[in-house]
């Protein structure tokens, strides 16, 4: 199928770019590792408050931390696209009969793979800190992180295609990623929040992802949170991807 053929080509091209300077794959893991090493010990002292059972802090914290990585680790991929627009590479692709979705799919899939690699590394680092995981739950949750990564990457590419210049891109994405991460109970459990904050968090799709991955890590497969998380994030990923694709097609107007 043409879309698969073209997506594969685009994926390989983009992955080659990333692997040419692999150090950035590690640089963007710095933030979560800092949280793990310098912030989590603070949480340990809080053990016992609602939403944070004593002695299990790390099990609650890590799934959310990986959601944080999925949000911020992919939020700025749009910069590479602006570079490609500026050098004419995207126009070069667009004059060929390449499938339009493949141009974006090849990028977001690369971003998702890099993200999964980072998530696995962070999880491995967390094991000495006492993390206990259900391995099947963990593998399933990787799928959810990938979907979050695809959502954020599509958002980043969509704005890159609209702005076509770097300056407004980072502020825009920070403005979106920061509140949604605070509102999803990643750093501290939302059980501690006042009611109004809890209410707002219910319309934040990413808080569903945090609940779902906590349930998955714990191996509570019967929890409704898991299905909710997949449905909410799955639908969101598709919508945001289509929006990004629309921005790409609008370049011709």
């Amino acid at each position: 199928m043409k879309i698969l053929h073209d997506t594969r080509l685009m994926f390989i091209r983009n992955m080659q770019h990333t692997l040419r300077s692999p150090v950035f794959v590690f640089v963007s893991m710095f933030q979560p590792l800092m949280y793990l090493i310098l912030f989590m010990p603070l949480l340990n002292g809080l053990g016992g408050v609602p939403g944070l059972p004593a002695g299990k802090t790390v099990d609650v914290f890590i799934p959310g931390l990986l959601v944080l990585q999925a949000l911020f680790g992919t939020a700025f991929v749009g910069f590479s696209l602006i570079d490609d627009i500026r050098t004419g590479v995207i126009e070069r692709f667009l004059v060929t009969p390449v499938n339009r979705s493949a141009i974006l799919l090849g990028r977001v899939l690369r971003d998702a793979i890099i993200l999964l690699f980072q998530c696995i590394l962070i999880t491995l680092v967390a094991i000495p800190f006492g993390l206990s995981i259900n391995i099947y739950g963990f593998l399933l949750s990787l799928l959810l992180y990938a979907l979050i990564g695809i959502t954020m990457a599509s958002l980043s590419y969509g704005f890159a295609l609209i702005y076509k210049i770097e300056d407004p891109l980072a502020p825009t994405l920070n403005t979106i990623a920061l509140p949604v991460s605070l509102l999803s109970g990643i750093i501290l459990p939302l059980a501690l929040a006042p009611v109004w904050l809890q209410d707002i968090s219910k319309i934040n799709p990413f808080s569903y992802a945090v609940y779902a991955t906590r349930a998955l890590f714990a191996g509570s497969f019967s929890s409704i949170d898991i299905a909710e998380g997949f449905v909410v994030i799955g639908v969101l990923a598709i919508l945001v991807f289509l929006w990004g694709l629309n921005s790409l097609k609008k370049m011709a107007s």
């Binding site: 073209d6 080509l9 091209r13 080659q16 770019h17 040419r20 490609d84 050098t87 004419g88 590479v89 126009e91 070069r92 692709f93 667009l94 004059v95 060929t96 009969p97 390449v98 370049m251 011709a252 107007s253």
Partner: protein, 322 residues
Amino acid sequence: MIETKGLRKTFISKGRGGNKKVEAVRGIDLTVRRGEIFGFLGPNGAGKSTTQKMLSTLLCPTGGEAKVLGYDLAEQQEQIRQNVGCVSQAGGADLSSTGIENLVLMAQLYGVDALTAKKYASEFVERLQMSSFIERPAQSYSGGQKRRLDIALGMIHHPQLLLLDEPTAGLDPQSRAYLWGEIKKLKADGVTIFLTTQYMDEADKLCDTIAIIDNGNIVVTGTPEELKSSVGGDTIVFSFQSEETARKAETFLTEKVQGARIQTKDNTVRLTIKDGEKMMPELLRSLDAQNLEAQSVMLSRPSLDDVFLKYTGRSLREDERK
């Protein structure tokens, strides 16, 4: 191979104080015949690139219609993309990849398998003599090498029609001459070429048909010979000691030679007349008799510069200086 009717593009650009309309292309009709090199000549901002982008499906026309290779521009974009080659002004090579990676990927995007793609790539490496640098990342290429890669990328799939946007802009004379040779070879191979340029000499040397575009409109179309003879004569350029002398000479010459076109700029007077060769000695003698001694005289057969001047009222060079 290309036929447009009233093709038009209006950009709405958001700026301070509301939206501004930019009429980049104002309804152009052009016909490019099979096997020819069609020159699309015009100054900065004339609408050349915009036209080429519409023809290569990168931009949606605001109005009008076009057939490219017989395919309808609005309906059959897939077929146009598959069969037309395009080299944009910016080039579009992926600078951090090597030339060969660029070429292979591009061929694959046109649907050929990896093996054939490699075959196509090495064919063009040989044809455009790129083997000494093609394995290096493209960001290390010289201007001429980069341009060769750009052109190879545009024709990697052996299209019947190639759109080239200012292929020799900014190149040294040697690289330009080399590319001109390659473009002529393509024509000999039966490829039809739509060539955008700001250079008169380029259009003159390469093209079978030329359309001059200015400010979004095509002002004239014809073969270089037709256009030049339409200017109606040869040009004699007299240079004088001072601007004042030049102005006096202009007044004198205007009376003396009826029906000639005369233009004075600084200390030179340009006179366009029929049979310039025969007229020149006599004109010099009578200028001398008036004590308007010319310091130098130059006779030139009509050039496309003169054509441009005639149809737009401006010199192409003047425009470039702005």
